[in-house]
Symmetry: D4
Subunit: 152 residues, 8 copies
């Protein structure tokens, strides 16, 4: 099964993104967490994005705050779908990160979800929905999840 | 191949969403446009969302302005991935629609893209990226598209 | 007397909405609290809205945060007046929920009040004002309430 | 039947508010337009609000831009339900008027609808919904209106 | 010497406004604090504003949060200068109160200062500057205050 | 009688500020327009502010857009009351200029009015109100102005 | 003398950035314009940034709208100073691009200037100020420029 | 070597700006901290800015919150590059200070960095980048800093 690569720019974002873990577990989606900044480790980000498909990843998730270029930078170097999770920390509880993640120019979409933990969780569920298009076992779990009021 | 259902809430949104057409054409993705409001035609929206998978759709795209509940309402009735395109028309050039589309609670993600025509185009490209995970012909087109500077 | 149905999307919103309780008591308006999410329990929300009039409800109040589609979804399935209470929790102390609740398209109004507890209280008072149009005992209480500086 | 008083603060707001006229007509609700500013004609506003109930009005609608105190001032002098319609003209396409209209303190609710013409129309429909609680002929029209996709 | 009337809408605003006290003391300006809400005690607010000049007041200061109509309502009933102090408590740390206080329509100015305690203090200093135009003893204190780095 | 000095930072702001002219005329207040930028002509601004009182000015009005430091810079060099008029031209229809003008730190108030022409007009009227405290002929005109619905 | 590389992401941004041309001319600073998108031509952007110093550039200027990652991406690949010019085109007249350009995380600064043409011009002047630290001929021009009211 | 002058408007801003200290140390850049308000100590600010070049300073850094005129005022009196650090404390976590610092008119640029401590740190690094253009020892440290993931 295709894996999901989750990239955060700083160790301090780890707690927020780990809210997604029970959801990846529930849908039995293999995922891996990387701590790489688009600005401080640009080459590593670039290489991860560029090699992700051949390394077995099907989706990239970038979670970042403030200028929040991480998801967009991943997108610039891959044709895989990229999900962006804006994080709070700058102005207006994350409005800066939200605008920076979602307002991508034509040609290079980032599938943006909500700010913070709700977004981290929804990135996992959106990953499940995308992978379910070619994996009926995940689809069955999504149906069960929805029947259960979208709760684990 | 799975189809994409694009739903707009009002005929006046048609011009904006049709910016996506050349991109659906380029990636040879079959799509269909529906004009249905989440608030004025809620039953039709519900039935479209609930039956979309069995009718051969793989992705739903909801484009709406102002309160912009369309994508979220679609999401509430399907386990398929839902892409949200916020449209301008209310306050701050679409900031209202953006917040209403992207700030979904945990459990029910909407993959949100940019406001307006850039978002409409990116919804088509994101659809291609998602469908390419199980369709190598689309993947080839995505590679070509990226090599061409993300232009048609 | 017609009842008021108050719907919140999550148990965590209960404390905020209960600020309305002393006001419903003061005006002697029967009300019932439902915990139903527009996105996680869409069918239950729909059925509540669609059956509310015949079940003796005169007003629906929907209180939700972030994308805050609850009041709008209720409105889509009823001809009763719907009051929306935006709740904080997302960006800018509830600005997201406010815009999502109030910026409804023409044809489907939501009577929106302030963010948070002030809004919960005002939803109860607005309910009293609406029901007072055909109930002079509530009208008398409203006059007393106003004479007392709008305090209980 | 109870009437609706619609108050605007300036002749320049007339065109926006007249978007409501076909809706008042459709629901056969008698209404009257007043041009009175909360700040420039405070005594006239006060007297209108204070005498509205005995003059046969059941609902007051205040539409104003910028600081937009009109609806709140009406509310301060009546126990009738007051609907507020924020108008554009200041910063951010009416965000100033929206916040000023909706963020009322506890005790004095203003039922706020969308900015501009959509709000003007929705004020008329919300009036119909409120009056329909004690008038089955309006209720029948609301059902017809909803069946017709919330169009006239 | 002309007095300054400071009006707050709620006892909970008292602590913020009292930040002005040492400044009124320093400039030896007589002032009086009133707790009157524009919406809950509209008649008392009106009478205070309308009678302020003949009761010896030269300036009115209105401090309020959220919809923050207090200063504007005072202005509607007096030809004295009115200073508005927006208070936090609603969305975005007082942005709602700021917009509601400052965006007054032409003809009815409110001299708006910063949000919160800084604004309360500046309302006292602005009062001193205004009264100093016809009182050289205050002018001397202002010069001393400025020479001291605008500190007491 | 004390004069009012009105300072704008650029000739392109002249049209907006001239909306104040009929109001200065009506109240028969002598005023003079200066075109001086706080950033491009800082010494001239400084000298104007520092010498204003002895040159017969009683009030300074600074109108500027974007970073809008003009009124604050005037205030830094005078003990006279300073009125700030934010102008549109940057982001969000003047929200940048508004925040920059009004959010002054404690000790150095700027009496801020609305954005744009409404603010220009209100600066003239606020000037009249301030000067009327020691000039009964202006006070009489203010009473007449208010009786006329705050119109010329 | 060190050159300035100015990078825009799209030909449609050319008109805005060319507002800087007379200023580069006045200060006799050699500059070159590149049209390269951080998202559509990421490798070219990377190579330009990484090789800029050895190719004789002393400063990079990135001008972009919406998500506006261009300046940040340049910064990630160079130790030269990078100036960011946010451009309008998305929400709130460029507020999105401004936040995305300026809110860079610690370690990777972007020297951000105003939105649009004012920012383009100021990027040229800021370049002159930086280069003047080691070039007295530019310093002389800056002094002349300032004496002339910061006009050409 | 040229020095950096860092100016804050209030002792309460000292803790935030001192986040820059380890970075100035790492790059071995001599710097000095001044506590001077643009509004309360305008003459001292003016003299510092006007004399900075001849006193051996190469860069001025102004850090301020709310109206945040400090950096712009420094810029008005010097031809040296000026870096602005917006600080939180007013509305929306520093959005007011950000807009006031960055939206400078053409002719007078302020190189603005992020809000708060991240901005303080980035002001030091940007200073290093600027000074490195004529000092190869700083350039070597920048290369080492970047290789180390932009960490000390």
């Amino acid at each position: 099964m295709k894996k999901v690569a989750v990239i955060i720019g700083s160790p301090s974002d780890r707690e927020t993104i780990l809210a997604a873990e029970p959801y990846f577990d529930f849908f039995q989606i293999p995922w891996k967490l990387f701590i790489l900044s688009a600005h401080r480790n640009p080459d590593a980000v670039l290489q991860l994005a560029a090699s992700a498909r051949e390394r077995g990843y099907g989706i990239l998730v970038g979670a970042a705050g403030m200028a929040a270029h991480l998801a967009g930078t991943l997108k610039a170097h891959t044709t895989l779908p990229v999900i962006g999770v804006p994080l709070a920390g700058g102005v207006s509880d994350g409005l800066d990160a939200l605008l920076s993640t979602v307002q991508m120019p034509k040609g290079v979409p980032v599938a943006t979800v909500a700010v913070g933990k709700a977004g981290a969780i929804n990135a996992a569920i959106l990953s499940a929905e995308i992978l379910a298009l070619s994996d009926s076992s995940i689809e069955e779990k999504l149906v069960r999840f929805k029947k259960n009021g979208c709760k684990l």
